[in-house]
């Protein structure tokens, strides 16, 4: 047995045994966390080994004696496994202190069980070697995460979120099924190898179907509607795993499909790039308009999936244009962003989880000043915010830098490639600026200033099992940001198994780029030390006094006067009004002594707003017309089955 399956077995055991231990709440959590964490750690070691030696693992089992379950780990799968096991390892440790309600012991046990299933199924998805295996793992993944989303099922909005997620993941799966069905219809085998022989137009249809299916999992606009509902509903460490790694299996699917189809025309890159630009910009615009911390983070997943797709799209354009270096820059940048996003997004979700645990609210405008009492949470959240905004010297910058470099290679090309690369670069720049605006809002409103409500006062940040993962993730943000070499080489190796139709490309260029990033970061730190020294010198022996904030002449300031998240984002949202319609509800102020008033704003997601009227209702209408089939008479149902068998016997 390979270490990979052993680690999955340990994870499953870690999830399974606690189901019988619910009377000993602490023991149950300990066993579960220990089992799952050990399994993840082993899996992480194994995935790292696969990446290092690039030996592929093959394993095959018979399933129902009709299909074979076939697993293979190539370097692309290994790269995703690294992200999956790393984030899951930390998330489950976080869960030890996060799941702190003994009265909900049974539910907690079930949560850990489905969590272990989710980790295993994610790992199996990226290792699946044929369609049957893939869909089996994919469905387990969707279902286990569905049960994790409805953890708090007493709240109607959580049930609604679960329902929405269920519908989306299954409609998405249906698209993937139809893509696989088309492939099977032409190649006659369940393996992926036959896909390369498909006729060119069919390849495009297969890719578009698969892109919609995988895109709905990844959260590509406009298939992201479930995401901002499901992430806030799930417990925070589950959101971290779902947003950090689970949605990345959609990205994996898109990359794998592109690879097995082996069609290197421009149109694939154009589709992916445009989808990436739209998701990226709209994702961050909607994020700016959110009032709920976890919903805001969920929209940032849409944004980051957009950035990843921009990278992949540029890579595909590079392949189509016969530019291997551009292709690898785009793909490797996108792939590294997969890892980076899984790190900083899970860090941010864990920070948000800590805030919600300790204050009891996730409303951004009710918080404030938390960093004074939550030092570690605040600082790690700040690091995560800087990283997700793509700022140096943190990891988000590295992957965006590589995607930019790919884009610049693209603008040197002819017209279509030039135009798409230009748009890609401009959207990346705009996304970067908007993300900075959004996270300066979150840090500024949630962690800085003065508490805006009683809930945010006198909080603490107890729970070492919650703090430890955040520290590790923040460290990883800085490590990758300053020494990206090994991580870029990992990503380049992952790209190698896409078989993009060229030989080995020399690594010197990439090593030079990572060396530059390291150098630039060290220069920055060097200058920072100089400035620090200067400041220390200037403050030697100076009198420091403390007093209230200068109120510009106003002597009775209250915390209610602070700028809120809504007011901070208002002018930017005004700019994006056509794509982000804003509903405001506030009665006009009247009279000399105005009465108490209120203000409420809501930014509409146009996908959510129009999906109902454009897609759901027509489909519903068609099904309504077919309702007579579903009459409830059991005899006729048996007749249907008989009829189906007869038809199949005669015509197939």
């Amino acid at each position: 047995m390979d270490l990979f399956f052993i680690s999955l077995g340990i994870i499953l055991a870690g999830g399974f045994f606690p189901l019988f231990l619910k009377r000993q709440f602490l023991w149950m959590k300990a066993v579960s966390v220990f089992g799952i964490a050990t399994g993840c750690l082993l899996g992480l070691i194994d995935a790292g080994r696969h990446l290092a030696i690039s030996g592929n693992l093959y394993a095959s089992f018979d399933y129902l004696s009709a299909f074979s379950l076939f697993f293979t780990i190539d370097s692309l799968a290994a790269f995703f496994l690294v992200a999956i096991f790393f984030v899951s390892f930390l998330a489950v440790i976080y869960g030890f202190h996060y799941m702190d309600k003994p009265e909900k012991a049974a539910r907690t046990a079930v949560n850990f069980f489905f969590f272990s299933l989710l980790i295993i199924s994610m790992a199996l998805v990226v290792c699946a070697g044929n369609m049957i295996t893939f869909m089996l793992a994919w469905e387990i993944m969707s279902l286990s995460s569905f049960f994790l989303v409805i953890y708090d099922h007493q709240k109607p909005e959580n049930r609604m979120a679960g329902y929405l997620y269920f519908v989306f993941s299954h409609v998405g799966a249906m698209f993937i099924f139809s893509a696989f069905g088309l492939m099977y219809g032409f190649s006659g085998s369940f393996g992926f190898e036959g896909a390369a022989a498909l006729p060119e137009p069919v390849k495009l249809i297969v890719f578009v179907l698969a892109f919609i299916g995988f895109g709905s999992k990844a959260g590509v606009f406009p298939f992201h509607v479930w995401l901002p509902h499901a992430h806030p509903a799930a417990p925070s460490h589950i959101s971290a795993v779902m947003s950090g790694v689970m949605i990345k299996t959609g990205i994996y699917g898109i990359m794998r499909m592109y690879s097995v189809l082996g069609s290197h025309t421009m149109i694939f890159g154009e589709i992916v790039l445009v989808a990436g630009m739209v998701s990226g910009i709209l994702g961050v615009v909607y994020a700016l308009g959110q009032h709920d911390l976890k919903r805001l983070l969920a929209y940032h997943s849409v944004e980051n999936i957009g950035i990843i797709l921009i990278g992949l799209g540029l890579g595909m354009i590079g392949v189509a244009a016969g530019q291997p270096v551009m292709a690898v820059l785009g793909f490797a940048g996108g792939l590294l962003h997969v890892l980076n996003h899984s790190i900083f997004k899970s860090l941010l979700f864990m920070g948000a989880g800590m805030v919600i645990r300790k204050t009891g609210t996730s409303a951004i405008d009710a918080l404030g000043g938390l960093i004074k009492n939550m030092k570690i949470t605040g600082i790690t959240f700040l690091i995560g915010s800087l990283a997700i905004s793509g700022l140096p010297p943190f990891n988000g910058f590295v992957s965006e830098f590589f995607i930019y470099m790919g884009g610049f290679r693209g603008v040197a090309l002819d017209r279509t490639a030039f135009a798409f690369s230009l748009l890609g670069i401009i959207s990346l720049a705009v996304i970067g600026g908007l993300a900075l605006a959004c996270f300066s809002k979150v840090v500024g409103v949630v962690f800085q200033g003065e508490p805006r409500s009683v809930a945010a006062e006198n909080v603490d940040e107890k729970g070492p099992a919650m703090l430890f993962p955040m520290l590790v993730l923040a460290g990883a943000c800085i490590l990758i940001g300053v020494y990206p070499k090994i991580f870029i080489l990992m990503a380049v190796k992952g790209v190698a198994s896409l078989e993009l139709g060229y030989g080995r490309i020399p690594l010197d260029h990439f090593i030079e780029l990572t060396g530059n990033i390291t150098r630039a970061a060290s220069i920055f730190f060097g200058v920072f030390l100089l400035v620090l020294a200067l400041r220390t010198l200037l403050y030697r022996g100076k009198t420091i006094t403390r007093s209230g904030t200068w109120g510009c002449g106003f002597t009775q300031p209250t915390v209610k006067m602070q700028y809120t998240g809504s007011s901070y984002a208002a002018s930017i949202l005004e700019f994006f009004k056509p794509v982000a319609p804003l509903n405001e509800d506030h009665p006009a102020i009247q009279g000399r002594f105005p009465a108490k008033t209120h203000y409420h704003s809501h930014v509409h997601d146009i996908a959510e707003r129009y999906m109902g009227s454009i897609i759901v209702r027509p489909v519903q209408w068609v099904f309504d017309q077919l309702r007579w089939i579903q009459h409830g008479d059991i005899h006729l149902y048996i007749g249907y089955i008989l009829l189906a068998i007869v038809v199949l016997l005669f015509f197939v």
Binding site: G368, E450, A520
Partner: protein, 306 residues
């Protein structure tokens, strides 16, 4: 290398002087004598001698703000070819690093402002987060154009030696748009009229000045120094483009560069003297003009450069 470092130090030393030129020009237009040209040095020395008052609402981030913003300004200056000299550091892709590093400085300026819990500073912070987004789009569009023309992704590839002349040679007409766009960015990024009024007395209408209201003493001095350097940084772009010649003689080059730089500062001063600040909701349109210019320049260059 040594020479580059000397120029870098000189640039930091002289940046406050150039900023005073703007004040002098404004005074001239107002029919006043104006402050002495060394006023900024006096201000800095005065600030450095003082102690500080910190708001009880603030945390360590408030102290980080001035340091990081100065640090990012000083670091980006290391990559800038001053007076045509080779920069201290340069690598393929350094422009991307530079633009994002300025983003880091901006993040900490905003964070320091949000730290004070002051409604006015929040207001300024929101504006500071908003307008540069458009500037970034413009900058990257110009980068695409320059990359197309030179095949380089570093400031050294655009502004050192005879490179600006090469740019003019490759695409003269579009470069006029680029200069305009750069000038608009210069005004926006450095909080000058018509985007922001550094001399106004009403906090509600400020952007940058309101964000640093609570900073005092050496901290405020560091911020001021950082903004002088930042203005110098952007002015160099414009100066090198309006005066692209390479005389072959370092002294002549430096003198010519100094004159061009003065011209840019005078132009900024004249703009401030003859224009009023735009209403806040008009500012995005003004900044978008730069993007339109840059985008147009880039697209038409596609026809010239193959």
């Amino acid at each position: 290398m040594i020479k580059s470092i000397i120029f870098w130090l000189l640039a930091m030393l002289l940046a406050p002087f150039f900023s005073a030129v703007i004040l002098k020009v404004k005074a001239f237009f107002g029919g006043k004598k104006g402050p002495p040209l060394l006023i900024n040095y006096y201000t800095l020395i005065k600030l450095f001698k003082k102690g500080s008052v910190y708001s009880t609402s603030t945390t360590f981030i408030f102290k980080m703000g001035p340091m990081v913003s100065l640090c990012s300004a000083v670091t980006v200056l290391l990559f800038l070819p001053i007076a045509g000299q080779a920069p201290v550091f340069s690598f393929n892709g350094d422009v991307i690093f530079i633009l994002y590093l300025m983003g880091l400085g901006r993040f900490f300026t905003i964070a320091a402002a949000m730290d004070t819990a002051s409604p006015f500073e929040g207001m300024g912070a929101a504006r500071e987060a908003y307008f540069p987004i458009i500037c970034e789009a413009t900058m990257f569009t110009i980068l695409v154009l320059f990359y197309k023309l030179t095949g380089e992704l570093s400031l050294a590839g655009y502004f050192s030696g005879s490179q600006p002349a090469e740019l003019w040679h490759a695409a003269g007409a579009p470069l006029l748009f680029v200069i305009m766009a750069f000038f608009i960015i210069l005004l926006t990024e450095n909080s000058r009229v018509p985007v922001d009024d550094p001399a106004t007395h009403l906090e509600l209408t400020m952007i940058h000045e309101v964000m640093v209201l609570d900073h005092s003493g050496p901290d405020l001095g560091l911020i001021e120094l950082g903004s002088f350097i930042k203005l110098f940084f952007f002015s160099t772009f414009v100066a090198r483009l309006i005066c692209p010649f390479d005389m072959g003689n370092p002294i002549l080059n430096t003198a010519m560069f100094g004159v061009a730089l003065l011209l840019v500062y005078v132009a900024a001063g004249i703009t401030e003297s003859v224009m009023a600040r735009y209403r806040m909701d008009r500012v995005p349109q003004f900044v978008l003009t730069s993007f339109a210019l840059a985008f147009f320049a880039t697209v038409i260059t596609l026809e010239f450069v193959k």
